[in-house]
């Protein structure tokens, strides 16, 4: 249902891998919201504050997103939202969401098949909002469910898979240009190279490379990327293959090697989550 997940699109999410949660129950979400709220209030008392002098009354909501999963084997996604009303606005005004985080698992059978009972597999965590809130919410989950959060980085190898996979996706609306950003190593001043490719050219190239629709091999990804690199070299005499691919942007989504993702098409949301779940699981194992 695209309406319910529309709020996940066009927002920058920071990625984490999460080890299985011990004794987590999706029937107790209201309790967890209460406990997390109390934890945040306690931390505030201790002197942790996002803005000095601003008294923020933070409300916590924990809910389930049943549509975000690959199969019935997967645990339904869990959404945590922190909202508050700024002290300047009137008492009955609506609260604004200041931080969101969600756990999900799309086609995570590799992990869920191998954990003992009592453990819930939600290996991918996405956060949007101030880092201090992410840290507080993360600490509470780590303490309560004995799990471990780690930033999920995306290697240049995986980014090139994403570039190839997402270029091949059909989109209804006008596709936006495919952009690849490369970081040049070993220079006194940091240098980034941005390579923008017309989406139809990119798709045409990928269509000539991919042999079986629905299947992608490492070889095909290499050929695709090498074509793009050769083209660039022909014009600029720079070997992009000697640089580090740090960001890939397509109509479907954009991904950065520091583990930051932006979903741009609801139609492919689950597909991208499946890939990210796989990356999270390999970081855990």
């Amino acid at each position: 249902d695209p309406q319910r997940t529309a709020f996940l699109l066009r927002k920058q999410w920071t990625l984490y891998s999460v080890t299985p949660l011990y004794r987590f129950s999706d029937a107790r979400l209201r309790d967890y919201a209460r406990l997390l709220s109390a934890f945040i209030a306690a931390e505030k008392q201790k002197g942790w504050a996002v803005e000095v002098g601003v008294e923020l009354d933070i409300k916590v909501a924990v809910s389930s997103l049943p549509d975000l999963r690959g199969s019935d084997q997967d645990q339904a996604a869990i959404l945590v939202q922190l909202s508050s009303r700024s002290p300047a606005s009137p008492k009955n005004s609506e609260e604004k969401v200041i931080w969101s985080g969600w756990f999900c698992c799309v086609s995570g059978d590799d992990l869920s098949e191998n954990v003992p009972e009592d453990f819930t597999c939600l290996p991918l965590f996405l956060a949007s909002g101030a880092e201090s809130y992410t840290s507080i919410v993360g600490s509470w989950f780590q303490k309560t469910f004995d799990c471990c959060f780690r930033r999920l980085a995306i290697s240049p190898l995986n980014l090139s898979w994403m570039a190839a996979m997402w270029t091949g996706c059909k989109v209804d609306k006008t596709a936006s240009a495919m952009e690849l950003v490369f970081s040049v190593p070993r220079l006194p001043q940091p240098l980034d190279i941005s390579y923008a490719i017309h989406p139809e050219d990119a798709k045409a190239l990928w269509d000539t490379v991919q042999k079986t629709p629905g299947e992608i091999t490492q070889e095909e990804v290499d050929v695709f990327m090498n074509c793009l690199y050769s083209h660039f070299h022909r014009h600029f005499k720079i070997h992009l293959s000697a640089t580090k691919l740090v960001k890939v942007s397509t109509t479907i989504a954009s991904a950065h090697c520091d583990g930051i993702i932006k979903f741009l098409q609801s139609q492919y949301l689950t597909g991208v989550l499946m890939l990210l779940t796989e990356l999270a699981i390999s970081q855990i194992q």
Binding site: I154, S155, P156, L157, Q218, H239, S241, T243, K244, C257
Partner: protein
């Protein structure tokens, strides 16, 4: 002797001492380095592949910087019947240990170790890697 690619310039051929070991360096962070090595391999005489060639893969410390696929490297080692060594140049301990390994291999390839030939050592290294 260090070279960025092969073939070596022919002008200095007559001054060059005998080459006993070629270590091809592949930086796992650079796809270009793999391509460079693959192109250079074509210029190596077949007799070198009897134990006088090895592949040294650097930058393996950080998985998240990986631009080269591991299978491609294993395939290279298999195709050219040569051992693949891994190291992280930024860590002094590993750098020193790797240098010592290469030196040892060089001594064998140069025939300085009685009873061990480059070929026998090369096949020993490969069979232990397969296990």
């Amino acid at each position: 002797h260090l070279a960025t690619s092969l073939p070596l310039p022919s002008e200095r051929d007559h001054l060059r001492p005998r080459i006993d070991l070629i270590a091809f360096m592949i930086d796992i962070k650079s796809k270009y380095s793999l391509k460079n090595v693959e192109d250079s391999l074509a210029h190596v005489d077949a007799s070198f592949f009897l134990g006088k060639v090895c592949f040294l893969v650097t930058g393996v410390g950080r998985v998240n910087y990986c631009s080269v696929e591991m299978n491609a490297i294993w395939k290279l080692g298999e195709t050219y019947c040569s051992p693949v060594l891994f190291c992280e140049l930024e860590l002094e301990g590993i750098r020193v240990a790797t240098a010592q390994r290469l030196l040892r291999m060089l001594q064998i390839c140069a025939g300085h170790i009685p009873g061990v030939s480059a070929l026998s050592f090369g096949s020993l290294m490969r069979s232990s890697a397969d296990d």
